[in-house]
């Protein structure tokens, strides 16, 4: 177990190193002098010289990378040039909002995707299986921002049941918080539910033809016990790992969902930063999402290792 953990963590280090190079390299894509871009409309030479010195633009590239990477390791992600706040503080401020949205979306994805996958596999080749596959294709093909519009038109404009936009903190008003997040969570969870459904269906089809399932049936166990206890429990093992890979999709989707429903989270932070040419914030957000993705995948791999007795043996 310890050897596995050490080896798995060791792989993360070079990956994180290359992530940092990619993110640092983004700044080099800026056409012309970054100091000029950061100075915006003001082209005061003293301001430009100050920015060049402050952001070490007068240093060679490897030195600049080294200084930037050392700062990141100390938790210093730079400073927002528009809001004049450390990027770390901005990220920490917006993170709980996106985490809540992503968490609820994951619940939606699991509640829809796993039962749909199980039913589809158990009823393989029937109309129900066909309908579940159509649902998966629908989920994979619908742009989530468009789905958001359709839900707003139905539930906010026509029926007036749910607020069309905005966010209320759970500490402020829990009921209002949930009402504002129902539609965004469904929109975000929908595509992931389709992927989870496909993974679960495929894993269940494989498991249900295994010898131990046939043995369970031969013992006279009810179909419900066979499917849920012997089938689903084993099928869920690969679904955990494959599901973790969808975390990136969740974060990408959050950017668009937060834009549609005007939710002040991580996604809105990066989009606003892009339009404000606040490049340190863009870099900070990409770095945090990539790190979170790597760490969550590590957790999923460890969970996979722990729940699969064959790997522990």
């Amino acid at each position: 177990m310890l050897t596995y953990l050490v080896r798995r963590i060791a792989i993360i280090i070079p990956t994180l190193f290359f992530v940092s190079i990619i993110i640092f390299g983004l700044q080099q894509l800026l056409p012309g002098d970054p100091a000029l871009a950061m100075a915006g409309e003001e082209r005061d030479p003293s301001v430009i010289a100050f920015l060049r010195h402050k952001y070490h633009l007068d240093q060679p590239l490897p030195v600049r990378y080294g200084l930037w990477a050392m700062g990141v390791l100390r938790g210093d992600l730079g400073e927002s040039i528009r809001i004049n706040k450390p990027v770390r503080d901005l990220v920490l401020e917006k993170l709980p909002v996106t985490a809540e949205l992503a968490g609820l979306a994951l619940v939606v994805a699991l509640v829809i995707g796993i039962p749909a996958g199980v039913i589809s596999a158990v009823k393989n080749g029937t109309v129900i299986d066909y309908a579940a596959n159509v649902f998966a294709l629908w989920g994979l093909s619908t742009p989530n921002f468009w789905l958001g519009f359709l839900l707003i038109l139905l539930f906010s404009v026509d029926l007036g049941w749910l607020p069309a936009s905005g966010f209320v903190s759970p500490a402020e008003n829990l009921k209002q918080n949930i009402l504002t997040l129902i539609m965004p969570a469904f929109v975000l969870g929908n595509a992931i539910a389709a992927v989870m459904m496909r993974h679960t269906r495929s894993a269940m089809l494989q498991v249900m033809s295994a010898d131990y399932v046939r043995t369970a049936r031969a013992k006279g166990l009810s179909e419900r016990v066979v499917v849920l206890k012997h089938g689903l429990r084993n099928a869920l093992i690969p679904v955990v790992t494959l599901g973790a890979l969808e975390f990136g999709q969740l974060l990408s989707g959050a950017v668009l969902t937060e834009q549609v429903f005007t939710i002040p989270g991580f996604g809105k932070l990066i989009v606003d930063a892009v339009f404000n040419r606040d490049y340190a914030v863009v870099q900070g957000v990409v770095l945090c999402t990539a790190t979170a993705y790597i760490v969550l995948n590590l957790c999923a791999d460890i969970a996979y290792f722990l729940v699969n007795p064959r790997l522990r043996a």
């Binding site: 992530v19 894509l29 294709l137 742009p143 468009w146 038109l153 069309a164 990136g248 990408s252």
Partner: protein, 295 residues
């Protein structure tokens, strides 16, 4: 003794003396979903090509007397906030979306296949370093990386296509590398080495043609993802810039008029959905046709 049932129709379709490509094509033709997908894709390609001839109005022609008009005989899909015909804009928008889908995937393929071939064929330290870089790129969520690239490159359709192409590239590197690793140990590759073929010839003549099938499937599915990504970037204002139409930028405008003019949001969104669904159906069909184990 019971007779073994024989699917004569399938057996006839899979004649052993046929070329694999012909067999795959015949299997693809028999998949209804894939054929519907191909027909719809072809329809949109024709609409995009002939948009200047078939669109009832110019896509940027404004009519201040017909602002936000609901669908009518004069404007079948209604008009937008400055009186532009939504149908004409949807037709011209097909150009941006399909172009973005195809060009981004071509960028991914033209970079991903050579890198994947190199990594898989050479192996060793080079493979290790390249794979860590790919891991790092895959760790940055696809759309977030595309947003960051588009932000630093500058917001326009060309840069959006480059950003999507680069963000989608790691999947092609991984796939090409995996296929190369399994193909390079095949007997015919060993034989090609034994008779003294140079490395470039082994890779280009003996490995590449044999790994193209899964790459084609992935490319078809990636076009669907790239179309959604372009629409997403344009929706955020990082793709096609106004007044030129694209489905994503039309939705970006529509969000401000949802209650007054919902038709502005219906049609471009529906167009994205139908095209992406068609590419997904075609991709699924291709996968089943090229790799019968998936059936």
């Amino acid at each position: 003794m019971t007779a073994i049932p024989v699917d004569t129709e399938r057996a006839a379709r899979d004649l052993p003396d046929d070329q694999p490509w012909k067999r795959a094509l015949r299997r693809l033709v028999h998949r209804r979903g894939a054929m519907v997908g191909a027909a719809v894709v072809l329809f949109f390609v024709l609409v995009a090509i002939f948009a200047p001839l078939i669109a009832p109005y110019a896509p940027i022609a404004t009519d201040w007397g017909a602002v936000r008009k609901a669908p009518s005989w004069a404007h079948w899909l209604g008009t937008d906030e400055i009186g532009r015909d939504v149908l004409s804009r949807v037709m011209f928008g097909a150009r941006a979306s399909l172009e973005a889908g195809v060009v981004s995937v071509l960028i991914s393929l033209s970079l991903g296949i050579p890198i994947g071939l190199l990594s898989g064929y050479v192996g060793g330290l080079l493979d290790g370093v390249l794979m860590r870089i790919v891991d790092a790129m895959l760790a940055c969520p696809f759309l977030i990386l595309a947003i960051a690239l588009a932000a630093f490159l500058g917001p326009n359709l060309t840069n959006a296509m480059i950003a999507i192409g680069i963000s989608a590239m790691p999947a092609f590197i991984r796939l090409t590398r995996a296929q190369t690793l399994s193909t390079k140990v095949e007997d015919y590759v060993e034989a090609a080495k034994a008779v003294g073929n140079p490395h470039y010839r082994i890779v280009l003549r003996h490995i590449l043609p044999n790994i193209l099938a899964p790459i084609m499937v992935q490319a078809t599915l990636a076009i669907a993802a790239a179309i959604i990504a372009e629409a997403s970037l344009s929706f955020l204002g990082l793709g096609q810039q106004p007044p030129d139409p694209s489905w994503g930028s039309m939705l970006n405008t529509a969000k401000n008029f949802l209650s007054q003019a919902p038709w502005m949001a219906w049609w471009p969104g529906l167009a994205i959905f139908v095209v992406v669904l068609s590419f997904n159906l075609l991709g699924d069909g291709l996968r089943d046709a090229l790799d019968p184990r998936h059936r």
